[in-house]
């Protein structure tokens, strides 16, 4: 995400720059009104429920099943995106071929395309009477209304993360180590594993974490393709909505709070890794 490494030497002169009060005021106002106040409403609601009731809702079989499904499908999507993203980054940086620029631009489609649109298209394509579904059905593979459908939707909406994280690092990689290894007669695969992969690993992990976080939060694309079967294909954020629609505000708040906690945790992990990735990169440049 965002590197925070202002040079320390300018610290003293900083206050000379104008706008501290103004920008602080604007930032806190926006953050307070738009983000924090609503989140506080959720936390207060959660606190009102009481620990025993909270725990009971959080560990109810249906809540657990929804969380498990969400985490499993997000993991499946992330594994696919990790492999595909690495491949794409490699191909885009290391090879020249006609249409490369176009392919590079295509990568961002999932970010630009609204998730509901993606869900609509994917569910129609993978339906048993759709283009992909008709091909997969004779093979006994069912995507729509299964965990695979959930994973496909999550994967689509988070495709660019790994690619965009790895690509710049791969571009900046110092070729001298690689060339040395080639001179020493190392096998290309060995070179990749021993020289290249360790160098891109921090960026790769950041991309993977972001991809996983985005998959956990995805809603629009998933609901079109998942089928909301309780205990089987019901993602956690959908369960939160269902609880809301059942007037079960406590249930909705508990699930929302748990998702919020997981998101914060992932954010912390990713920020930590980012700091590390920067340190790694900083050594080279």
């Amino acid at each position: 995400m965002t590197p925070v490494n202002a040079p320390a030497s300018t610290r003293r002169s900083k206050r000379v720059l104008p706008g501290f009060g103004l920008t602080m005021g604007m930032t806190l106002t926006y953050l307070g009104v738009i983000v924090l106040l609503p989140v506080i409403a959720l936390v207060l609601k959660g606190a009102e429920i009481g620990p025993a009731r909270f725990f009971a809702i959080a560990t109810a079989p249906r809540t657990m099943a929804a969380l498990q499904l969400t985490l499993t499908a997000a993991a499946m999507a992330t594994v696919f995106n990790a492999v595909y993203g690495l491949l794409m980054a490699w191909v885009l940086v290391r090879y020249d071929f006609p249409g490369k620029r176009l392919l590079d631009a295509m990568v961002d489609i999932p970010f630009a395309l609204p998730t509901a649109v993606a869900g609509l298209a994917l569910s129609a394509l993978f339906a048993t009477n759709g283009w992909y579904g008709a091909l997969l059905e004779p093979l006994g593979i069912k995507v729509v209304f299964t965990i695979w459908g959930v994973a496909v939707a999550m994967s689509f909406t988070s495709i660019p993360f790994v690619i965009r994280a790895v690509q710049p690092v791969l571009e900046d990689l110092d070729p001298q180590y690689e060339q040395a290894a080639v001179t020493l007669g190392a096998h290309p695969f060995t070179i990749f594993c021993r020289v290249i992969f360790p160098a891109i690993l921090p960026a790769f992990l950041v991309g993977v974490t972001l991809s996983f976080a985005r998959s956990l939060g995805e809603f629009g694309a998933v609901v079109f393709i998942a089928g909301n079967l309780p205990m089987e294909t019901e993602i956690a954020s959908l369960l939160a909505v269902i609880r809301l629609e059942e007037y079960d505000y406590n249930g909705a708040s508990v699930i929302a709070l748990m998702l919020l906690l997981i998101a914060l945790l992932l954010l912390a992990v990713s920020n930590l890794m980012q700091a590390q990735a920067l340190r790694y990169k900083g050594g080279g440049s």
Partner: protein, 330 residues
């Protein structure tokens, strides 16, 4: 950015009111989409002739309990046209609707009625005739989530009533039957229409259970797919209660037009449109004109079988009630 502005100007220009006009928001259940799309213009013309005012009728559709919750949260509905008494009771408890709302309009504030019925695929390959056929091996049944959809709650109660009737009032056997029925449902959508889409567009399931009115409309809409309507031997009298959301209507000054709007559903003209959309009505002329839409069926009521809505609410739908124990909903 310029195109945005032009598009916005265009859209809002089109929607901008030219003369002073009345405006109501009708918050309704999910499968009433086509019904009110037809009723609203006819009512608007009538209202214009009677009062000289133009009226704009906004529609919001969704599972009826979900809609009730949205109104409780502040959705500014002037009138509600729901499919379940309990969902208006909730609004009455919240102080938004008069406590005696059932007396405000005829037939217990229910201008029309329907019943849970079946829709099966072309030529009825699984030979579905009655409730018992639904729980046979390999039969997949589609209906929405009974926690969010009034439509599905009628289905649940109808199946329950059927099993009680068949087993001489044995509650345990009835619960077993509905539990079995739930296990044949591959997908629980949020509202009645989503279930229709699941059945008709995504081609999931062998039977769709929804209001008879929806089975009739869908069979007509998808004539090329050859869906067959099946009316079970016994079903549940399903009311479609209406009410003015007094608190909102007062604020908006829309009480008169709201009342006229709901009255129109009882008028001969309104009843004709309702019957055309496969809703059972009370008006004799409309009944006769669309007699072919309504096969004979034995109907039982919530009052007869379950002792009224209050009892249903506390015994079946309350947290930890019978519905919770038989529905996969821990």
């Amino acid at each position: 950015m310029k195109t945005y502005l032009i598009a916005a100007a265009l859209a809002f220009g089109l929607a901008a009111p030219a003369v002073a006009q009345d405006k109501i928001l009708n918050v309704s259940y999910d499968v009433a989409r086509e019904l009110f799309a037809e009723i609203n213009p006819v009512f608007a013309a009538k209202w214009k002739a009677e009062s000289g005012h133009d009226v704009v009728i906004d529609q919001s559709h969704g599972g009826s309990s979900k809609q009730a919750r949205a109104i409780l949260e502040g959705l500014p509905a002037d009138v509600v046209t729901f499919n379940q008494v309990t969902d208006i009771d909730v609004l009455a408890e919240g102080g938004l609707v008069d406590a005696n709302w059932r007396e405000a309009f005829g037939n217990n504030a229910s201008p029309y009625y329907s019943l849970p019925a079946f829709l099966v695929r072309k030529d009825n390959p699984k030979g579905i005739k009655d409730w018992d056929d639904l729980v046979k091996d390999g039969v997949q049944v589609v209906f929405p989530n009974p926690k969010t959809s009034g439509n599905a709650r009628y289905t649940y109660l109808a199946a329950y009533a059927y099993a009680l009737d068949k087993n001489g009032g044995d509650q345990a056997k009835a619960q077993e039957f509905v539990k079995d029925l739930f296990s044949h449902v591959p997908v629980f959508d949020q509202g009645g229409r989503a279930s229709t889409v699941t059945f008709a567009e995504k081609e999931i399931g062998d039977v769709l259970i929804t209001f008879e009115a929806e089975t009739g409309g869908i069979a007509k809409e998808y004539a090329d797919k050859g869906f067959v309507r099946v009316t079970p031997s016994l079903s549940l009298f399903s009311e479609f209660p209406v009410a003015i959301v007094t608190e909102n209507a007062k604020k908006a000054g829309s009480e008169a037009v709201s009342k006229a709007y709901l009255d129109f559903l009882y008028a001969p003209e309104g009843q004709q449109i309702l019957a055309k959309h496969f809703y059972r009505v009370y008006d004799e002329a409309a009944k006769a004109a669309f007699a072919a839409n309504f096969p004979e069926v034995k109907l039982v009521t919530v009052e007869d079988v379950f002792g009224g809505w209050d009892k249903v609410k506390s015994e079946h739908f309350a947290e930890g009630g019978i519905l919770d124990t038989v529905f996969v909903n821990q």
